[in-house]
Amino acid sequence: MEHLILRDLDIPNLQDISVYEQHGGYDALRKAVKEMTPDQVTDVVKASGLRGRGGAGFPAGVKWSFLPKGVFPRYLVANADESEPGTFKDRQIMERNPHQFVEGIAIASYAIQCHNAFIYIRGEFPYAAQCLEKALADAEQRGYVGKNVLGSDYSLTITVHRGAGAYICGEETALLESLEGKLGQPRVKPPFPASVGLYNKPTVINNVETLCNVPVIIERGAEWYAKIGTPKSTGPKVFCLSGHVNRPGNYEAPFGSISFRDLIYDFGGGIRGGKKLKAILPAGASGPMLSPLANPAVMDVKLDFEALAPFGSLLGSASVIVLDEDTCVVWAAKKMVRFFEHESCGKCTPCREGTYWMSRVLERIDAGIGTLGDVDLVAGVATQMQGRTLCPLGDFSTSPVLGSVKIFREEYERHIKERGCWARK
Protein backbone atom coordinates (compact mmCIF):
# COMPACT_ATOMS: atom_id res chain seq x y z
CA MET A 1 0.00 0.00 0.00
CA GLU A 2 1.22 3.49 -0.74
CA HIS A 3 2.49 5.57 2.15
CA LEU A 4 0.47 8.66 2.94
CA ILE A 5 2.69 10.10 5.65
CA LEU A 6 6.06 8.44 5.19
CA ARG A 7 5.93 9.18 1.48
CA ASP A 8 9.69 9.55 1.50
CA LEU A 9 9.84 5.77 1.53
CA ASP A 10 8.17 5.68 -1.88
CA ILE A 11 9.63 8.82 -3.43
CA PRO A 12 13.35 9.58 -3.28
CA ASN A 13 14.47 13.17 -2.51
CA LEU A 14 11.04 14.23 -1.35
CA GLN A 15 12.62 16.92 0.81
CA ASP A 16 13.38 18.73 -2.43
CA ILE A 17 10.52 21.12 -3.10
CA SER A 18 10.38 20.44 -6.83
CA VAL A 19 10.17 16.71 -6.21
CA TYR A 20 7.40 17.34 -3.69
CA GLU A 21 5.57 19.55 -6.19
CA GLN A 22 5.90 16.97 -8.94
CA HIS A 23 4.07 14.53 -6.71
CA GLY A 24 1.13 16.78 -6.09
CA GLY A 25 2.73 18.80 -3.33
CA TYR A 26 0.98 21.99 -2.22
CA ASP A 27 -2.06 21.19 -4.38
CA ALA A 28 -4.07 20.72 -1.20
CA LEU A 29 -2.99 24.14 0.07
CA ARG A 30 -3.94 25.69 -3.26
CA LYS A 31 -7.32 23.99 -3.10
CA ALA A 32 -7.91 25.15 0.49
CA VAL A 33 -6.88 28.76 0.00
CA LYS A 34 -8.43 29.23 -3.45
CA GLU A 35 -11.56 27.14 -3.32
CA MET A 36 -12.55 26.80 0.31
CA THR A 37 -13.46 29.05 3.19
CA PRO A 38 -11.62 28.52 6.46
CA ASP A 39 -14.73 27.00 8.02
CA GLN A 40 -15.09 24.59 5.15
CA VAL A 41 -11.53 23.39 5.71
CA THR A 42 -12.29 22.84 9.38
CA ASP A 43 -15.49 20.98 8.52
CA VAL A 44 -13.70 18.66 6.12
CA VAL A 45 -11.07 17.84 8.72
CA LYS A 46 -13.80 17.32 11.29
CA ALA A 47 -15.65 15.01 8.92
CA SER A 48 -12.48 13.03 8.23
CA GLY A 49 -12.36 11.97 11.87
CA LEU A 50 -8.67 12.86 12.08
CA ARG A 51 -7.46 12.39 15.62
CA GLY A 52 -4.35 13.88 17.20
CA ARG A 53 -1.30 11.67 16.77
CA GLY A 54 0.59 13.04 19.76
CA GLY A 55 -0.88 10.46 22.09
CA ALA A 56 -4.17 11.71 23.45
CA GLY A 57 -6.10 11.16 20.23
CA PHE A 58 -8.32 14.23 20.43
CA PRO A 59 -10.21 15.00 17.18
CA ALA A 60 -8.20 17.69 15.40
CA GLY A 61 -11.06 19.44 13.62
CA VAL A 62 -13.02 19.71 16.86
CA LYS A 63 -9.96 21.27 18.51
CA TRP A 64 -9.83 23.89 15.78
CA SER A 65 -13.48 24.73 16.17
CA PHE A 66 -13.04 25.35 19.91
CA LEU A 67 -11.38 28.72 19.31
CA PRO A 68 -13.59 31.50 20.62
CA LYS A 69 -15.23 33.38 17.76
CA GLY A 70 -13.85 36.75 16.85
CA VAL A 71 -10.82 36.75 19.14
CA PHE A 72 -7.62 37.60 17.28
CA PRO A 73 -4.72 37.16 16.90
CA ARG A 74 -4.70 33.40 17.11
CA TYR A 75 -1.75 31.10 16.97
CA LEU A 76 -0.99 27.67 15.66
CA VAL A 77 1.82 25.76 17.26
CA ALA A 78 3.13 22.58 15.71
CA ASN A 79 4.34 20.34 18.47
CA ALA A 80 7.56 18.85 17.17
CA ASP A 81 8.99 18.31 20.64
CA GLU A 82 9.09 14.58 20.10
CA SER A 83 10.85 13.38 23.23
CA GLU A 84 9.18 10.17 24.29
CA PRO A 85 11.76 7.40 24.50
CA GLY A 86 11.11 5.13 21.57
CA THR A 87 9.50 7.80 19.39
CA PHE A 88 11.26 8.93 16.24
CA LYS A 89 8.56 9.34 13.63
CA ASP A 90 8.37 13.14 13.57
CA ARG A 91 12.10 13.38 13.15
CA GLN A 92 11.96 11.24 10.04
CA ILE A 93 9.06 13.28 8.67
CA MET A 94 10.81 16.60 9.28
CA GLU A 95 14.10 15.45 7.85
CA ARG A 96 12.76 13.63 4.84
CA ASN A 97 9.25 14.87 4.11
CA PRO A 98 9.25 18.40 5.53
CA HIS A 99 7.04 19.97 2.90
CA GLN A 100 4.05 17.83 3.73
CA PHE A 101 4.40 19.09 7.30
CA VAL A 102 4.74 22.71 6.18
CA GLU A 103 1.73 22.30 3.90
CA GLY A 104 -0.25 20.86 6.80
CA ILE A 105 0.65 23.83 8.97
CA ALA A 106 -0.32 26.25 6.24
CA ILE A 107 -3.71 24.62 5.71
CA ALA A 108 -4.43 24.40 9.42
CA SER A 109 -3.37 28.01 9.93
CA TYR A 110 -5.66 29.07 7.12
CA ALA A 111 -8.51 27.08 8.65
CA ILE A 112 -8.19 28.86 11.99
CA GLN A 113 -7.17 32.17 10.40
CA CYS A 114 -3.88 32.45 12.18
CA HIS A 115 -1.10 34.49 10.66
CA ASN A 116 1.71 33.44 12.95
CA ALA A 117 2.47 29.77 13.29
CA PHE A 118 5.30 28.30 15.31
CA ILE A 119 7.07 24.99 15.08
CA TYR A 120 8.40 24.01 18.48
CA ILE A 121 11.10 21.48 17.65
CA ARG A 122 13.29 19.60 20.09
CA GLY A 123 16.72 21.07 20.68
CA GLU A 124 18.18 17.62 20.11
CA PHE A 125 17.06 17.67 16.46
CA PRO A 126 19.44 20.19 14.93
CA TYR A 127 19.43 18.52 11.54
CA ALA A 128 15.64 18.33 11.40
CA ALA A 129 15.51 22.02 12.30
CA GLN A 130 17.86 22.80 9.42
CA CYS A 131 15.72 20.75 7.06
CA LEU A 132 12.65 22.67 8.16
CA GLU A 133 14.34 26.05 7.80
CA LYS A 134 15.34 25.07 4.29
CA ALA A 135 11.87 23.78 3.46
CA LEU A 136 10.30 26.99 4.79
CA ALA A 137 12.68 29.17 2.79
CA ASP A 138 11.88 27.19 -0.36
CA ALA A 139 8.15 27.32 0.35
CA GLU A 140 8.27 31.04 0.95
CA GLN A 141 10.17 31.58 -2.27
CA ARG A 142 7.44 29.80 -4.16
CA GLY A 143 4.69 31.67 -2.38
CA TYR A 144 3.29 28.86 -0.25
CA VAL A 145 3.94 30.72 2.96
CA GLY A 146 4.73 34.34 3.72
CA LYS A 147 2.85 37.36 2.49
CA ASN A 148 -0.18 36.65 0.31
CA VAL A 149 -0.10 32.89 0.17
CA LEU A 150 -0.51 31.79 -3.45
CA GLY A 151 -1.60 35.26 -4.42
CA SER A 152 -4.53 35.30 -2.01
CA ASP A 153 -4.95 37.94 0.68
CA TYR A 154 -4.07 35.39 3.35
CA SER A 155 -0.58 35.77 4.86
CA LEU A 156 1.29 33.43 7.11
CA THR A 157 4.63 33.48 8.87
CA ILE A 158 6.02 30.22 10.21
CA THR A 159 8.78 30.40 12.80
CA VAL A 160 10.94 27.48 13.85
CA HIS A 161 11.59 27.59 17.58
CA ARG A 162 14.16 25.19 18.98
CA GLY A 163 13.75 23.68 22.41
CA ALA A 164 16.77 22.91 24.51
CA GLY A 165 16.29 19.61 26.24
CA ALA A 166 13.08 19.25 28.22
CA TYR A 167 10.68 16.35 27.73
CA ILE A 168 7.99 18.27 29.60
CA CYS A 169 7.73 20.76 26.73
CA GLY A 170 5.86 18.11 24.79
CA GLU A 171 2.98 18.85 27.17
CA GLU A 172 1.12 21.59 25.38
CA THR A 173 0.91 24.24 28.09
CA ALA A 174 4.55 23.69 29.11
CA LEU A 175 5.39 24.08 25.44
CA LEU A 176 3.58 27.42 25.37
CA GLU A 177 5.38 28.61 28.48
CA SER A 178 8.66 27.61 26.90
CA LEU A 179 7.78 29.36 23.66
CA GLU A 180 7.03 32.48 25.67
CA GLY A 181 10.59 32.33 26.97
CA LYS A 182 9.89 30.93 30.39
CA LEU A 183 10.67 27.76 32.27
CA GLY A 184 8.75 24.96 30.60
CA GLN A 185 6.29 24.20 33.36
CA PRO A 186 2.69 23.20 32.64
CA ARG A 187 -0.10 25.61 33.36
CA VAL A 188 -3.14 24.83 35.41
CA LYS A 189 -6.01 23.88 33.12
CA PRO A 190 -8.61 25.20 32.50
CA PRO A 191 -8.34 27.62 30.80
CA PHE A 192 -7.34 25.48 27.86
CA PRO A 193 -5.02 26.80 25.16
CA ALA A 194 -7.92 27.04 22.72
CA SER A 195 -9.15 30.03 24.69
CA VAL A 196 -6.05 31.21 26.60
CA GLY A 197 -2.92 29.94 24.91
CA LEU A 198 0.23 31.48 23.55
CA TYR A 199 0.59 35.07 24.82
CA ASN A 200 -2.86 34.52 26.37
CA LYS A 201 -4.42 34.29 22.92
CA PRO A 202 -6.46 31.43 21.44
CA THR A 203 -4.05 28.76 20.28
CA VAL A 204 -4.21 25.42 18.51
CA ILE A 205 -1.46 22.93 19.18
CA ASN A 206 -1.11 19.93 16.87
CA ASN A 207 1.43 17.17 16.55
CA VAL A 208 3.64 16.91 13.45
CA GLU A 209 2.08 13.68 12.24
CA THR A 210 -1.42 15.06 12.76
CA LEU A 211 -0.67 18.06 10.58
CA CYS A 212 0.86 15.82 7.90
CA ASN A 213 -2.51 14.13 7.53
CA VAL A 214 -4.22 17.41 6.73
CA PRO A 215 -3.02 17.86 3.13
CA VAL A 216 -4.04 14.28 2.38
CA ILE A 217 -7.53 14.90 3.72
CA ILE A 218 -7.99 18.13 1.81
CA GLU A 219 -6.67 16.66 -1.40
CA ARG A 220 -8.60 13.41 -1.40
CA GLY A 221 -11.60 14.37 0.66
CA ALA A 222 -12.92 13.45 4.08
CA GLU A 223 -14.95 10.54 2.84
CA TRP A 224 -12.01 8.82 1.19
CA TYR A 225 -9.87 9.41 4.24
CA ALA A 226 -12.45 8.21 6.74
CA LYS A 227 -12.56 4.85 4.99
CA ILE A 228 -8.98 4.21 6.03
CA GLY A 229 -8.63 2.72 9.47
CA THR A 230 -11.50 2.06 11.83
CA PRO A 231 -14.62 4.21 12.24
CA LYS A 232 -13.31 5.67 15.51
CA SER A 233 -9.65 5.85 14.57
CA THR A 234 -9.43 6.95 10.98
CA GLY A 235 -6.44 7.25 8.70
CA PRO A 236 -2.95 5.89 8.68
CA LYS A 237 -0.67 5.74 11.69
CA VAL A 238 3.09 5.67 11.95
CA PHE A 239 4.31 3.03 14.40
CA CYS A 240 7.78 3.45 15.87
CA LEU A 241 9.31 0.11 16.56
CA SER A 242 12.45 -0.18 18.66
CA GLY A 243 14.21 -2.38 21.18
CA HIS A 244 14.98 -6.06 20.67
CA VAL A 245 13.72 -6.47 17.12
CA ASN A 246 15.66 -7.24 14.01
CA ARG A 247 14.46 -4.25 12.03
CA PRO A 248 13.57 -1.28 14.24
CA GLY A 249 12.07 1.65 12.40
CA ASN A 250 8.99 3.63 11.45
CA TYR A 251 6.17 1.66 9.87
CA GLU A 252 3.00 3.17 8.50
CA ALA A 253 -0.24 1.24 8.54
CA PRO A 254 -3.91 2.13 8.80
CA PHE A 255 -5.41 2.07 12.25
CA GLY A 256 -6.97 -1.29 13.08
CA SER A 257 -5.11 -3.09 10.33
CA ILE A 258 -2.22 -4.60 12.22
CA SER A 259 -1.53 -6.31 15.54
CA PHE A 260 1.61 -6.37 17.68
CA ARG A 261 2.34 -9.74 16.13
CA ASP A 262 2.26 -8.23 12.63
CA LEU A 263 4.32 -5.28 13.73
CA ILE A 264 7.02 -7.19 15.56
CA TYR A 265 7.30 -10.35 13.50
CA ASP A 266 6.29 -9.09 10.08
CA PHE A 267 7.45 -5.44 9.85
CA GLY A 268 10.14 -5.75 12.49
CA GLY A 269 11.50 -9.10 11.33
CA GLY A 270 11.09 -10.79 14.71
CA ILE A 271 13.02 -10.69 17.93
CA ARG A 272 16.76 -10.29 17.67
CA GLY A 273 18.68 -13.54 18.04
CA GLY A 274 15.46 -15.55 17.73
CA LYS A 275 14.72 -15.03 21.37
CA LYS A 276 11.29 -15.03 22.95
CA LEU A 277 9.24 -11.90 23.51
CA LYS A 278 8.93 -10.90 27.13
CA ALA A 279 7.16 -7.56 27.18
CA ILE A 280 5.98 -4.70 25.03
CA LEU A 281 5.93 -1.02 25.94
CA PRO A 282 3.22 0.24 23.60
CA ALA A 283 3.60 3.99 24.18
CA GLY A 284 7.27 4.58 24.93
CA ALA A 285 7.95 4.99 28.60
CA SER A 286 4.46 6.32 29.24
CA GLY A 287 2.11 3.40 28.78
CA PRO A 288 1.88 0.47 31.17
CA MET A 289 3.82 -2.58 30.07
CA LEU A 290 2.06 -5.45 28.26
CA SER A 291 3.17 -9.01 28.03
CA PRO A 292 1.97 -12.07 26.14
CA LEU A 293 3.06 -14.01 29.21
CA ALA A 294 0.31 -12.32 31.17
CA ASN A 295 -2.31 -12.31 28.43
CA PRO A 296 -1.52 -13.91 25.06
CA ALA A 297 -4.51 -12.20 23.44
CA VAL A 298 -2.65 -8.91 23.42
CA MET A 299 -0.52 -10.06 20.51
CA ASP A 300 -3.40 -10.31 18.10
CA VAL A 301 -5.60 -7.35 18.86
CA LYS A 302 -5.76 -4.92 15.95
CA LEU A 303 -4.24 -1.65 17.03
CA ASP A 304 -6.13 1.59 17.25
CA PHE A 305 -6.49 4.27 19.95
CA GLU A 306 -8.87 2.27 22.09
CA ALA A 307 -7.62 -1.25 21.41
CA LEU A 308 -5.34 -1.54 24.42
CA ALA A 309 -7.73 -0.21 27.04
CA PRO A 310 -9.06 -3.69 27.92
CA PHE A 311 -5.46 -4.70 28.65
CA GLY A 312 -4.92 -1.74 30.98
CA SER A 313 -2.68 0.19 28.65
CA LEU A 314 -2.83 2.70 25.82
CA LEU A 315 -1.44 3.18 22.36
CA GLY A 316 -0.36 6.79 22.87
CA SER A 317 1.95 7.87 20.11
CA ALA A 318 2.47 4.22 19.12
CA SER A 319 6.11 4.01 20.17
CA VAL A 320 6.49 0.32 20.57
CA ILE A 321 9.52 -0.81 22.53
CA VAL A 322 10.13 -4.54 22.56
CA LEU A 323 11.84 -6.40 25.42
CA ASP A 324 13.16 -9.93 24.92
CA GLU A 325 13.22 -12.77 27.42
CA ASP A 326 16.66 -11.88 28.80
CA THR A 327 15.67 -8.37 29.86
CA CYS A 328 15.36 -7.55 33.53
CA VAL A 329 12.14 -5.63 34.11
CA VAL A 330 13.36 -4.06 37.36
CA TRP A 331 16.27 -2.60 35.48
CA ALA A 332 13.97 -1.46 32.68
CA ALA A 333 11.55 0.15 35.15
CA LYS A 334 14.44 1.88 36.90
CA LYS A 335 15.67 3.25 33.57
CA MET A 336 12.28 4.66 32.74
CA VAL A 337 11.56 6.12 36.15
CA ARG A 338 14.98 7.73 36.17
CA PHE A 339 14.06 9.31 32.87
CA PHE A 340 10.90 10.79 34.39
CA GLU A 341 12.76 11.91 37.49
CA HIS A 342 15.19 13.76 35.28
CA GLU A 343 12.41 15.30 33.22
CA SER A 344 10.01 16.24 36.01
CA CYS A 345 9.65 20.01 35.90
CA GLY A 346 9.27 20.28 39.66
CA LYS A 347 6.11 22.35 39.65
CA CYS A 348 3.77 19.92 41.37
CA THR A 349 4.63 17.96 44.46
CA PRO A 350 3.52 14.39 43.65
CA CYS A 351 5.61 14.26 40.51
CA ARG A 352 8.64 16.13 41.85
CA GLU A 353 8.86 14.09 45.04
CA GLY A 354 7.29 10.89 43.76
CA THR A 355 9.67 10.36 40.84
CA TYR A 356 12.58 11.12 43.16
CA TRP A 357 11.27 8.63 45.69
CA MET A 358 10.43 5.83 43.22
CA SER A 359 13.82 6.24 41.64
CA ARG A 360 15.57 5.76 44.98
CA VAL A 361 13.55 2.63 45.80
CA LEU A 362 14.06 1.07 42.37
CA GLU A 363 17.79 1.77 42.56
CA ARG A 364 17.78 -0.02 45.88
CA ILE A 365 15.97 -3.06 44.53
CA ASP A 366 18.04 -3.17 41.37
CA ALA A 367 21.27 -3.01 43.35
CA GLY A 368 20.06 -5.93 45.46
CA ILE A 369 19.81 -4.02 48.71
CA GLY A 370 16.06 -3.63 48.80
CA THR A 371 13.66 -5.26 51.21
CA LEU A 372 10.52 -7.22 50.40
CA GLY A 373 8.42 -4.30 51.61
CA ASP A 374 9.98 -2.10 48.92
CA VAL A 375 7.86 -3.66 46.16
CA ASP A 376 4.66 -2.59 47.84
CA LEU A 377 6.25 0.72 48.78
CA VAL A 378 7.17 1.66 45.21
CA ALA A 379 3.78 0.52 43.93
CA GLY A 380 2.13 2.44 46.77
CA VAL A 381 4.02 5.63 45.95
CA ALA A 382 3.03 5.24 42.30
CA THR A 383 -0.62 4.74 43.23
CA GLN A 384 -0.50 7.82 45.42
CA MET A 385 0.76 9.86 42.49
CA GLN A 386 -1.88 8.73 40.03
CA GLY A 387 -4.42 11.36 39.13
CA ARG A 388 -2.85 13.90 41.45
CA THR A 389 -0.43 15.59 39.12
CA LEU A 390 -0.83 18.75 37.10
CA CYS A 391 0.05 17.17 33.78
CA PRO A 392 0.30 13.64 32.40
CA LEU A 393 4.05 13.35 33.04
CA GLY A 394 3.45 12.42 36.65
CA ASP A 395 0.88 9.79 35.70
CA PHE A 396 3.12 8.42 32.97
CA SER A 397 5.98 8.01 35.42
CA THR A 398 3.91 5.52 37.39
CA SER A 399 3.23 3.30 34.36
CA PRO A 400 6.58 1.50 34.25
CA VAL A 401 6.28 0.72 37.95
CA LEU A 402 2.66 -0.30 38.18
CA GLY A 403 2.69 -2.21 34.87
CA SER A 404 5.80 -4.18 35.70
CA VAL A 405 4.89 -4.91 39.31
CA LYS A 406 1.52 -6.19 38.18
CA ILE A 407 2.93 -8.63 35.64
CA PHE A 408 6.37 -9.41 36.98
CA ARG A 409 6.05 -9.15 40.73
CA GLU A 410 7.97 -12.34 41.35
CA GLU A 411 10.90 -10.92 39.41
CA TYR A 412 11.09 -7.98 41.82
CA GLU A 413 10.97 -10.37 44.76
CA ARG A 414 13.65 -12.53 43.21
CA HIS A 415 15.87 -9.47 42.92
CA ILE A 416 15.47 -8.83 46.60
CA LYS A 417 15.84 -12.41 47.74
CA GLU A 418 18.86 -13.10 45.53
CA ARG A 419 20.35 -9.73 46.40
CA GLY A 420 20.93 -8.71 42.81
CA CYS A 421 19.95 -9.03 39.23
CA TRP A 422 19.57 -12.50 37.74
CA ALA A 423 20.07 -11.16 34.23
CA ARG A 424 23.41 -9.65 34.98
CA LYS A 425 24.84 -12.59 36.93
Partner: protein, 157 residues
Protein backbone atom coordinates in the same frame (compact mmCIF):
# COMPACT_ATOMS: atom_id res chain seq x y z
CA UNK B 1 31.42 38.47 25.62
CA UNK B 2 29.13 38.34 22.62
CA UNK B 3 30.24 39.69 19.28
CA UNK B 4 28.49 42.68 17.79
CA UNK B 5 27.09 40.41 15.12
CA UNK B 6 25.60 38.02 17.66
CA UNK B 7 24.02 40.94 19.44
CA UNK B 8 22.40 42.25 16.31
CA UNK B 9 21.23 38.73 15.45
CA UNK B 10 19.58 38.53 18.86
CA UNK B 11 17.92 41.87 18.27
CA UNK B 12 16.71 40.49 14.96
CA UNK B 13 15.34 37.41 16.75
CA UNK B 14 13.38 39.60 19.14
CA UNK B 15 11.37 41.01 16.25
CA UNK B 16 10.37 37.53 15.08
CA UNK B 17 8.06 36.98 18.04
CA UNK B 18 5.00 38.88 19.22
CA UNK B 19 6.77 39.16 22.58
CA UNK B 20 10.51 39.77 22.61
CA UNK B 21 10.91 37.54 25.64
CA UNK B 22 10.33 34.52 23.42
CA UNK B 23 13.72 35.18 21.86
CA UNK B 24 15.42 34.07 25.05
CA UNK B 25 15.86 30.43 23.97
CA UNK B 26 17.11 31.12 20.45
CA UNK B 27 19.38 33.80 21.92
CA UNK B 28 20.87 31.29 24.35
CA UNK B 29 21.38 28.81 21.52
CA UNK B 30 23.07 31.47 19.45
CA UNK B 31 25.30 32.60 22.29
CA UNK B 32 26.26 29.04 23.12
CA UNK B 33 27.17 28.37 19.51
CA UNK B 34 29.38 31.43 19.48
CA UNK B 35 31.01 31.21 22.90
CA UNK B 36 30.86 27.45 23.38
CA UNK B 37 28.99 27.77 26.67
CA UNK B 38 27.10 30.34 28.70
CA UNK B 39 29.29 32.17 31.20
CA UNK B 40 27.80 34.72 33.58
CA UNK B 41 28.69 37.73 31.49
CA UNK B 42 26.95 36.28 28.44
CA UNK B 43 23.83 35.60 30.50
CA UNK B 44 23.98 39.22 31.64
CA UNK B 45 24.38 40.47 28.08
CA UNK B 46 21.40 38.48 26.88
CA UNK B 47 19.39 39.82 29.81
CA UNK B 48 20.37 43.36 28.92
CA UNK B 49 19.37 42.86 25.31
CA UNK B 50 16.00 41.36 26.22
CA UNK B 51 15.31 43.70 29.11
CA UNK B 52 15.34 40.87 31.63
CA UNK B 53 17.40 40.37 34.73
CA UNK B 54 20.38 38.07 34.75
CA UNK B 55 18.67 35.71 37.19
CA UNK B 56 15.61 35.50 34.98
CA UNK B 57 17.74 34.44 32.01
CA UNK B 58 19.69 32.10 34.25
CA UNK B 59 16.43 30.51 35.40
CA UNK B 60 15.61 29.57 31.83
CA UNK B 61 19.17 28.51 31.06
CA UNK B 62 19.22 26.14 34.03
CA UNK B 63 15.83 24.58 33.29
CA UNK B 64 16.87 23.24 29.90
CA UNK B 65 19.59 20.66 29.80
CA UNK B 66 21.20 21.65 26.53
CA UNK B 67 22.49 24.97 27.83
CA UNK B 68 25.95 24.67 29.36
CA UNK B 69 26.36 26.92 32.38
CA UNK B 70 29.70 25.29 33.21
CA UNK B 71 32.59 25.42 30.85
CA UNK B 72 32.72 22.20 28.80
CA UNK B 73 35.58 20.72 26.83
CA UNK B 74 36.10 21.63 23.22
CA UNK B 75 33.51 19.03 22.21
CA UNK B 76 30.42 17.83 23.96
CA UNK B 77 28.98 14.37 23.55
CA UNK B 78 25.41 13.77 24.64
CA UNK B 79 24.98 10.07 25.05
CA UNK B 80 21.52 8.52 25.21
CA UNK B 81 21.15 5.94 27.95
CA UNK B 82 17.38 5.61 27.85
CA UNK B 83 15.64 2.29 27.60
CA UNK B 84 15.44 1.87 23.80
CA UNK B 85 19.16 2.55 23.50
CA UNK B 86 19.96 0.57 26.62
CA UNK B 87 18.14 -2.43 25.18
CA UNK B 88 20.60 -2.31 22.33
CA UNK B 89 23.72 -2.06 24.41
CA UNK B 90 23.95 1.60 25.38
CA UNK B 91 25.11 0.86 28.91
CA UNK B 92 28.08 -1.11 27.64
CA UNK B 93 28.84 1.55 25.03
CA UNK B 94 28.71 4.24 27.69
CA UNK B 95 31.12 2.25 29.83
CA UNK B 96 33.39 1.90 26.83
CA UNK B 97 33.15 5.60 26.14
CA UNK B 98 33.92 6.50 29.74
CA UNK B 99 36.90 4.22 29.66
CA UNK B 100 38.09 5.68 26.41
CA UNK B 101 37.72 9.28 27.58
CA UNK B 102 38.97 8.64 31.08
CA UNK B 103 36.02 10.43 32.64
CA UNK B 104 32.54 9.70 33.88
CA UNK B 105 29.29 11.09 32.55
CA UNK B 106 28.88 14.82 33.35
CA UNK B 107 32.66 15.19 33.36
CA UNK B 108 35.29 16.37 30.92
CA UNK B 109 38.11 14.17 29.74
CA UNK B 110 41.44 14.87 31.47
CA UNK B 111 42.85 16.41 28.28
CA UNK B 112 40.00 18.91 28.47
CA UNK B 113 38.85 18.11 24.97
CA UNK B 114 35.61 16.21 25.37
CA UNK B 115 32.74 16.59 27.82
CA UNK B 116 30.50 13.58 28.25
CA UNK B 117 26.86 14.04 29.18
CA UNK B 118 24.11 11.53 29.65
CA UNK B 119 21.13 12.62 27.59
CA UNK B 120 17.49 11.68 27.52
CA UNK B 121 16.10 10.13 24.35
CA UNK B 122 17.63 11.62 21.21
CA UNK B 123 14.94 10.31 18.90
CA UNK B 124 17.09 7.78 17.14
CA UNK B 125 15.80 4.59 18.74
CA UNK B 126 15.65 2.83 15.37
CA UNK B 127 19.41 3.32 15.13
CA UNK B 128 20.22 2.75 18.78
CA UNK B 129 22.55 3.38 20.51
CA UNK B 130 22.76 7.04 19.64
CA UNK B 131 24.77 10.03 20.65
CA UNK B 132 24.70 13.69 19.68
CA UNK B 133 27.99 15.42 19.04
CA UNK B 134 28.30 19.15 19.76
CA UNK B 135 24.54 19.51 19.69
CA UNK B 136 24.64 19.20 15.93
CA UNK B 137 25.49 15.76 14.64
CA UNK B 138 23.77 12.46 15.41
CA UNK B 139 26.06 9.44 15.58
CA UNK B 140 23.89 6.32 15.30
CA UNK B 141 24.11 2.50 15.41
CA UNK B 142 27.11 2.85 17.67
CA UNK B 143 29.63 0.08 18.15
CA UNK B 144 32.83 0.29 20.12
CA UNK B 145 34.81 0.59 16.91
CA UNK B 146 32.61 3.43 15.71
CA UNK B 147 33.02 5.19 19.05
CA UNK B 148 36.81 4.85 18.93
CA UNK B 149 36.81 6.35 15.46
CA UNK B 150 34.66 9.31 16.51
CA UNK B 151 36.76 10.00 19.60
CA UNK B 152 39.93 9.99 17.53
CA UNK B 153 38.38 12.46 15.13
CA UNK B 154 37.17 14.75 17.90
CA UNK B 155 40.48 14.67 19.72
CA UNK B 156 42.22 15.86 16.59
CA UNK B 157 39.88 18.74 15.80
Amino acid sequence: MLSQQAKSEIQQLMTKYPDARSAIMPALHLAQREVGWLPDDVIQEIGDLLGLSKTEVNGVATFYTMYARDQPGRHTIMFCADLPCALRGADEMLEHLEHKLGCRASQTSPDGKITLQEAECLGGCNHAPVMLIDGAEHAQDLTSEKIDEIIERLRNT
